[in-house]
């Protein structure tokens, strides 16, 4: 496994961070900016970045602003990649006129929602963190991914390959997952010392299939 990174900025107070983080409110924590590119330098969208600070994740339920719904529309999953916290129940509403047969053979969640029609909504509760590949048995071309995470620090890269996560601080393990990642479990990890306040920006080149 190879991780390519380049440092754009580095704080002078890296050693004092853990103590600081413990006293400061979350809102005051630092921000991680990752710019993800493939081997050719093109931006990689739909990659999931998660941060697990060495100090541990905050207690309490995890909520993400993008909700827990994966719609089937125009013979495609929307969003294609959905990040949900552990225990979340994801709804699979069918907005197409055709029927779909959603399935997953992924280890964290093996399930099958057989042939349901338009405006029908089915749901599944994801109890194990991990990546779940979702397909439709009728339409091979349809694929979607649900990343079940147990950290609030998670984000999906946008069309520019940009993923921004705020609130985490201190030394942390940053994991980057992508369905076409040429790596075990389709993900790579890296150690990143996060600032208490400032922004740590990284450009990460990913090896994709």
């Amino acid at each position: 496994m190879k991780l390519l990174s380049e440092t754009e900025a580095m704080t002078r107070f890296a050693l004092a961070l853990p103590a600081l983080l413990a006293t400061l409110p979350v809102a005051h924590a630092g921000t991680l900016d990752l710019r993800l590119v493939d081997a050719a330098g093109r931006p990689v969208p739909d990659a999931v970045v998660t941060i697990r600070p060495d100090a541990g994740v905050p207690r309490g339920p995890i909520r993400f602003p993008w909700g827990t719904t994966m719609t089937q529309q125009d013979i495609a999953f929307n969003p294609r990649v959905l990040i949900v916290p552990v225990g979340a129940t994801v709804a699979f509403p069918n907005r197409d006129k055709v029927r779909h047969h959603v399935y997953s053979f992924s280890k964290p969640a093996r399930f099958e929602i057989k042939l349901y029609g338009r405006d029908e909504t089915r749901s599944y509760t994801f109890k194990t963190p991990g990546a779940v590949a979702i397909g439709c048995n009728i339409h091979d071309a349809m694929n979607g991914y649900i990343k079940v995470v147990d950290t609030p620090f998670a984000a999906k890269s946008d069309a520019q390959g940009l993923a921004r996560i705020a609130g985490a601080s201190g030394a942390a393990t940053v994991t980057i997952w992508h369905p076409r990642m040429k790596a075990k479990d389709n993900q790579v990890t890296m150690r990143v010392p996060l600032d208490a306040t400032g922004t740590v920006s990284r450009r990460v080149a990913l090896a994709l299939r």
Binding site: A131, K182, K184
Partner: protein, 763 residues
């Protein structure tokens, strides 16, 4: 010995034109045939190579298409399996038995040798057999690298393999279907092309050195004594490290073997062609050289002296050569005959010449036949030539030839040259004597030639064979001797040869030889007979007389040797010697005493006489008027003008000229008028008669009177007694010479004579 004429043909090209031509043409044809053969072989080889190359290119394309189809089939089959929900579920859940059974089922259905799954971790499931270490990772690497089909090698087997991804929808791995490329498969491939190109898949490293992949033209390699065209094109390798190539090969040797019969037959026909060319050119060469050989043979016959003609068969160069040759032979024969005729005939009269006569005589003698040889010599022919000219002389000779032929038509007649003729008469009714007289009569008839009337005459000498000569030379010599005798005895007669003639002739010849020696060895000497001046009563001159003291025969009379010297021309040097010797002797004498020297007709006509006289005078210092040259009347027989001119030129030197033997022969008073001789010597015949005949005295009287009148002296020769002396003195003769006064004296005695004379005068 005539050399044998070479016939037929010889194998030695240096000696036979036809062999050379045959060889050259056969060699040329052989060369052409060889070139054709080589060209055909080369062309066939190129053609075969091109054909094989084209077939290989087509084959490679076909194999590519077939393989692509095969990969598509395998890939399709794989995709069918990979998209099966149950199979995907099995793979996702790692349900190996299910996977295995599904693969086995598909393998059977598609009649495949291998069907297996390579998962995303490089794990291989379902491979039939043992995979080598790291093979899974290599396969994964290849698949990750986007290679999803190609040639798979494992366990010594080679497969065509194609992979299809298993997605759920995340990629879980690949299902790989492989069809073994076994011998049968290869055979199947091989059948795709019209010629079996023995397709094979080999590692690129195993290719023969220098093989270029996908080269436009196949490479020629040698293997097991065969030449093989090899073409290699790369094949995609699936999950392997060894680059592989598809090889196509075809034996050029085998391909060319198909043309071998053609080349053999080409060679066969070429050899046949060479044989035909050799035979044909031989025939042509023979045809060309046959006339040449005929010419050669004919030329040999001609050079051997035979007559030969060659047939003219063609109108080409050789035919023309043959014609020219024939004309040349005819011309040569013609010329030979003319030359032979000229060699044996007289060009003027057409009669045989001396050589032919000789041959004829020899032939008759050899036959033992008796015959008469008559030699003729025209009398006074020289006069005709000199007075009437040579054309008339020649015409007369022709007339004589005609007369001889007319008089004796059966005889063999020859002209020996000049005015000499010869006639050979074989035994006939006429005796030689009769024949001779008939000839004399025939020739002496007056003739008119070139408008001149001429009366010819001839003398004839006859020799009878075989009595008068055993060979042609002797016979002719003897006939000549007889002729000589006839001439001497007066012209217009005939004489038979007698053996005495021969003896005389021998003697003459011996004397002639001796005379030569005499000149050289000083056997000649002069005697001097005094001439007495009756008026002054003293010796006035001496006549020099030549003597010959022969070492064996003693003293020889001038009568015997002077005519011989005149005949042989020896008289000229002898006379010159005499003049010089006389002058030398006279130098010792008193100044009033002259010396008289006889000059013969032959010597006189010699143009060197004046020179001789001048030299003698100069050498001796003698006064010219003390030398007196005595000439005879016979000089005046012919060419009077010339004689007179010579006399005047002598006189111009200052010497005296006396007319000797006056009164004999052609004495003519006109000479005396024409030339003022200093002295006339009265011939001794008149003196002998003096005492017995009165007429003689009258003649002496008239001569002396005439001489006085012309201012000439007179000398009487041969005075032997006092009676003669008295008469001569009476008749007015001024000088006498003779035994009465003195015999001829040797030079040494002359001084004595002068001494006596002086004594007498003193007394």
């Amino acid at each position: 010995m005539r050399p044998a004429i070479r016939r037929g043909w010889t194998l030695d090209p240096r000696r036979s034109l036809s062999a050379r031509l045959t060889l050259v043409y056969a060699a040329l044809f052989a060369l052409a045939a060889a070139l054709i053969l080589l060209g055909a072989r080369w062309g066939i080889e190129r053609y075969a190579e091109r054909a094989i190359n084209a077939e290989m290119q087509a084959g490679a394309k076909a194999f590519g298409r077939v393989t692509a189809m095969r990969y598509a089939q395998l890939g399709d089959a794989g995709r069918v399996l990979a998209s099966d929900f149950g199979f995907r579920a099995a793979v996702a859940t790692g349900d190996a038995p299910t996977i295995g059974s599904a693969l086995a089922s598909l393998k059977r259905r598609f009649d495949l040798e291998q069907a297996f799954v390579v998962d995303i971790d490089g794990q291989v499931t379902g491979f039939d057999g043992q995979l080598s270490e790291g093979k899974g990772d290599r396969l994964l690497g290849a698949l990750d690298g986007g290679v999803d089909r190609g040639v798979l090698r494992s366990g010594g087997r080679v497969y065509n393999a194609a992979a299809a991804p298993i997605e759920t929808p995340m990629l879980l791995g690949w299902v790989v279907f492989a069809k073994e490329i076994d011998a049968a498969e290869m055979r199947e491939l091989g059948r795709l092309t019209s010629m079996d190109l023995h397709p094979a898949i080999v590692p690129v490293a195993d290719l023969p050195a220098g093989t270029t992949l996908d080269a436009r033209d196949a490479k020629v390699i040698a293997r097991d004594g065969e030449r093989i065209l090899l073409r290699a094109s790369p094949v995609p390798v699936f999950g392997g490290r060894t680059p592989l190539a598809l090889t196509l090969e075809y034996s050029l040797t085998a391909a060319l073997a198909g043309y071998q019969p053609m080349l053999w037959s080409l060679l066969g026909f070429g050899l046949l062609g060479v044989a035909i060319a050799a035979l044909g050119s031989h025939v042509v060469a023979q045809r060309i050289t046959r006339p040449i050989k005929a010419l050669d043979a004919a030329a040999r016959r001609v050079s051997a002296g035979e007559s030969a003609q060659v047939p003219v068969e063609t109108r080409d160069e050789l035919g023309r050569l043959a014609g020219s040759f024939n004309r040349m032979v005819v011309a040569i024969e013609d010329r030979e005959q003319r030359i032979a005729h000229m060699a044996f005939h007289d060009s003027l009269t057409g009669l045989a010449n001396r050589a032919l006569l000789r041959e004829h005589v020899a032939r008759l003698l050899a036959r033992g036949q008796g015959f008469a040889l008559l030699c003729l010599d025209l009398d006074n022919f020289k006069v005709v030539n000199d007075t009437l000219g040579h054309p008339t002389g020649d015409a007369l000779l022709c007339e004589i030839a005609r007369r001889l032929q007319a008089a004796c038509p059966d005889a063999f007649i020859a002209r020996l040259g000049g005015d000499e003729f010869a006639l050979v008469a074989e035994e006939s009714a006429r005796t030689p004597d009769r024949l001779g007289r008939d000839l004399l009569a025939a020739i002496s008839a007056p003739a008119t030639v070139n408008g001149h009337r001429v009366v010819p005459g001839t003398s004839i000498g006859i020799a009878i064979a075989p009595h008068d000569g055993a060979n042609a030379t002797d016979l002719q010599k003897n006939a000549d001797l007889a002729l000589y005798r006839a001439k001497r005895e007066g012209k217009g007669g005939l004489r038979f040869f007698e053996s005495a003639m021969d003896e005389e002739a021998q003697k003459r010849r011996q004397m002639e030889l001796d005379l030569h020696d005499a000149m050289r060895e000083g056997q000649l000497f002069l005697m001097f007979q005094p001439l007495f001046d009756l008026g002054k009563g003293r010796v006035s001159a001496f006549e020099a007389l030549m003597r010959w003291q022969h070492p064996e025969r003693g003293l020889i009379s001038p009568v015997d040797f002077i005519p011989l010297a005149e005949d042989t021309g020896l008289i000229v040097p002898m006379g010159a010697w005499a003049i010089r010797e006389a002058c030398r002797a006279a130098r010792q004498w008193p100044d009033h005493v002259r010396v008289a020297v006889n000059v013969s007709a032959v010597q006189f006509r010699n143009p060197g006489l004046n020179t001789v006289v001048m030299q003698a005078l100069a050498e001796s210092g003698l006064a010219p008027d003390r030398l007196e040259l005595e000439i005879t009347e016979s000089l005046f027989i012919d060419n009077v003008e010339g004689v007179l001119a010579s006399l005047h030129s002598l006189r111009a030197l200052g010497v005296r000229v006396a007319l000797d033997d006056f009164g004999t022969g052609y004495s003519s008073l006109s000479y005396l008028r024409s030339f003022p001789f200093d002295k006339i010597k009265i011939d001794r015949s008149f003196i002998i008669d003096l005492l017995s005949s009165d007429g003689a005295t009258a003649i002496i009287k008239s001569i002396t009177t005439l001489a006085d009148a012309l201012g000439m002296e007179t000398t009487a020769e041969g005075v032997e007694n006092v009676g003669q002396l008295d008469i001569l003195r009476e008749q007015g003769c001024s000088h006498i010479q003779g035994f009465y006064f003195s015999r001829p004296l040797p030079e040494g005695a002359i001084a004595e004579l002068f001494a006596e004379e002086r004594a007498r005068a003193a007394a």
